[in-house]
Symmetry: C2
Subunit: 113 residues, 2 copies
DNA sequence: ATCATGCTTAGCCATATTGCTAAGTATTGC
DNA sequence: GCAATACTTAGCAATATGGCTAAGCATGAT
């Protein structure tokens, strides 16, 4: 498929890892240092840094360094395109009120064996 | 991070590819054959099949074969866990009404240079 | 000045992902 | 029967991902 729409791919990819989702959940309740985010994961710092940069490139978090400490904070608005896409999908399939698909698929499947 | 929660990873991963999202959008307006789904992508059939099986394993679509034709249909409910997770995230950060994070981050960043 | 802390960079390894081609198999139409 | 259609399977190549270790570089505390 054409390669526009790079945003959503970045966003969904960032969310596709449990470690990164856990980090977002942690950050949802307030900013944290890199080391603090690393601790519950059991992962080494370089690995954690990588997850954080994926989240940052997707726009889900901002980070800034003060002295030797880098603080990470969530960017709630970043979730909007995701939510919007999902809502649009729903809008399309709800435009067809018929629940015929599932019925048809079942008929086919029952015919199968 | 611990490996529970395998569902969401599957779901988000499935959505992280533009070809797969386009297929879902196409299917949102009604069931389709594999070849029909392949056509607008410009991809070869085996590649398309792989995308479809990713979507099917995630639970976003059902497929069934009638004769030599495989028909694919969307499974709208499959999107629910995704939507739920996003809503939960929002609930957490909205529980903190303060918009202090962004402010703090800005201060740090301005101090930076 | 020295040392611990906190991140950062570089680079390696294993596996997964996304595309392909080539060669099947199973149906349908003539 | 025979050919066209519609997948399907097997296997390859390039790149991406997710983990690590080792070593580097500031900053803060003593």
């Amino acid at each position: 498929m054409a390669k526009h729409d790079p945003d959503l791919s970045l966003l969904f990819h960032a969310l596709s890892d449990p470690t990164r989702r856990a980090m977002l959940t942690r950050l949802a309740s307030g900013p944290a240092r890199v080391t603090d985010l690393a601790e519950p994961t059991g992962l080494k710092l370089p690995t954690v840094m990588r997850h954080l940069s994926v989240l940052e490139q997707a726009g889900f978090i901002t980070t800034a360094k003060d002295g030797r400490i880098r603080t990470c904070a969530i960017v709630p608005e970043a979730m909007e395109p995701v939510r919007t896409w999902i809502d649009e999908q729903r809008a399309i399939w709800e435009a067809r009120l018929d629940r015929l698909d599932a019925f048809v698929m079942n008929v086919i499947k029952e015919t199968e064996e």
